[in-house]
């Protein structure tokens, strides 16, 4: 009996020591930032952990928080839905590079009696959010939708009350297609909305739209799909009517891709591209030897980035994100190869 207890405690001790050493041996990478790609990242990092034993801890605290953390050098990478502007680069203690990870689509969703399929242009959406179009049977909307019986119902626009990359990209699109929107409201994480009602997060906007007849809102494609919401077909800059889908979202980035990957995808000139698509990036320092970082840590980071733009991409479609098209992957490869430790490339 006593022997049994001794051997039991010995076994526990061994297990404990084993667990301890494995915890010490495991690598951990730390990131924080954008909430929009967070589900995709969680899935990717989970798969990556199973594959390599490297733990990646990502805190979805919002894009500006992620950028602030990388600026303060307290994380290995920051996630952001809007790339760093030229004027802001000087705020960072070293040169930073952007690596795109996934593409998201923002859909215009609405709640109308009957299951009506609507076609809308960017102009009309902008005028609705400016308060210039106030009824669903306004001529501007009926003209785009011949044969659709639109009700004489007030339009109630719904927007994100929290600052968000989704709002940034949606207002970027409206600014690109409407001069009046650009001058009166503009483009930011949160803006001063002329009309309408705010709701928190994608889920909040989706909730209000689902609950209230006559509303129009904008949410990530994933939320519209999961909630079976009506989504508008949008005219892109080539004049094609594009149904939002993963394929048309990927297509938005299929055109020319800049070497630094900082591209605004909204109002894309790709012929088959959905016009309200947006990239999301990870931001890291090009020279990885800073603070007390080891070369090993830097190597792990670069390996993770490389995996995310290649093998990691297979996991995102199930979560309604569009994978990176070939030109984006190519540009990202070049950037990852340019990351150094003490001036030496970490991957070839």
């Amino acid at each position: 009996m006593k022997r049994n207890a001794v051997s039991k405690s010995l076994m526990l001790l061994t297990l404990f020591v084993l667990g301890l050493t494995s915890a010490l041996g495991a690598q951990t990478l730390l990131g924080s930032g954008a909430t929009f790609p967070a589900p995709a990242y969680t899935k990717m990092f989970d798969e990556y952990y199973k594959l390599t034993g490297v733990k990646v801890n990502y805190q979805a605290i919002g894009s500006s928080g992620g950028l602030k953390n990388i600026q303060d050098r307290v994380v290995d990478f920051g996630g952001t839905d809007s790339f760093i502007k030229d004027a802001d680069f000087s705020k960072y203690p070293g040169q930073v590079v952007h690596i795109p990870t996934v593409i998201g689509a923002i859909v215009v969703t609405y709640n109308l009696p009957g299951s009506l399929k609507l076609r809308l242009t960017g102009d009309v959406v902008a005028d609705i959010y400016l308060g210039k179009i106030t009824k669903w049977n306004d001529k501007a909307i009926t003209e785009l939708n011949p044969g659709v019986k639109l009700p004489n119902l007030a339009i109630m626009p719904v927007y994100r009350s929290d600052g968000s990359g989704t709002t940034f990209n949606f207002t970027a699109y409206l600014s690109a297609v409407s001069a009046e929107w650009k001058s009166k409201v503009g483009n930011a994480n949160s803006v001063s909305w002329p009309v309408g009602q705010g709701a928190a997060q994608n889920a909040g906007v989706a909730g209000v739209v689902k609950q209230t007849p006559g509303t129009i809102g904008y949410v990530e494609l994933a939320y519209a799909n999961q909630n079976n919401m009506a989504v508008a077909v949008i005219k892109n800059s080539s004049g094609n009517w594009i149904e939002p889908s993963l394929a048309s979202t990927s297509a938005a980035a299929a055109g020319a891709f800049p070497a630094d990957t900082r591209i605004v995808l909204v109002n894309t000139d790709a012929k088959e591209g959905y016009p309200i698509s947006s990239l999301t990036w990870l931001v890291v320092y090009r020279e990885q030897n800073y603070g007390n970082r080891s070369r090993e840590q830097a190597e792990q980071l670069v390996k993770l980035l490389w995996w995310m733009i290649h093998d990691g991409q297979q996991y995102v479609t199930a979560l309604d994100y569009a994978p990176l098209p070939a030109p984006a992957v190519k540009a990202s490869e070049a950037i990852i190869k340019s990351i150094t430790y003490n001036g030496q490339a970490l991957i070839k």
């Binding site: 605290i61 919002g62 894009s63 500006s64 928080g65 007030a154 109630m156 009350s161 929290d162 600052g163 968000s164 990359g165 409201v185 503009g186 483009n187 930011a188 994480n189 949160s190 803006v191 001063s192 909305w193 309408g196 009602q197 705010g198 709701a199 928190a200 909040g204 909730g207 209000v208 609950q211 209230t212 006559g214």
Partner: protein, 290 residues
Amino acid sequence: MNDKRFNVLLGFAAMVVVFIFAGFLFTLVVQSLPAVKQEGAAFLYGSEWNPVTTRFGALPFIIGTLMTSAIALAIAIPLSLSAGIVMGEYVNSLWLRSVLNTLINVLASIPSVVFGLWGIEVVIPLVRSLAMSVGAPPYGAGILSASLVLAIMIIPYMSSMTREALVNVHAGLREGAYALGLTKQEVVTGIALPFAKNSIFAGILLSLGRALGETMAVTMLIGNATRIPTSLFSLGNTLASVIASQFNEAASDVHRSAMMGLALILFVITMIIGWFGRTLMRKGVGAHGE
């Protein structure tokens, strides 16, 4: 010696409170300086809040905060006082008392996000049909929805403080009053309530403090619009709800600083109300002696 040590320890603990208060105020003032410098006094009376053009005026949020809290109080005070009086004076069965107490404690400990969800599912549709019947825009969300849920959130505090206040009225007073042949109602309105007045008032103030600062539920129900509310059905924002909505993804340093300014305003409003309440209470003490 032992006594002395105890005093030092107490003094030190008390200083910590003062220090935290001062540090809190200091941080808010320093961090809000950039925005206040940029806007000047317009930070208080400006009605434009635009992160794109970086114009920051807090008036719509100040009005939204005061309006929702005032309406919530107006709804909650009669209900809570009645509930408190019933529990303190009229329920004699111990069993029923403990059931009521438990219910109120449970109500008080429900997280505000749950109140928010309940508001979205229950209150907003009700308010929407009300709005449609009077021809107001059928948002459902807005000042009224937020105030209603706020009222429900503060009722447990207010009613249990009312009950406590009544229970604590000296038994001798009551016995004396009954001995003089006063009826139950006369004892409650003529003896118990006047003597419990100050504590009841303190309960109301505490509830008002909660209403002013309540964030989650209000953010979910008020409609988050940067406009000065003009009616019960208007969409709006409170100081706390703007901070909750926009702080995480503040677009610029001035934007962040402006939100620190909002926090400072909320802090000052709460202090003024607390001070005002204490002054009123002191006057009350003079009248009755305690």
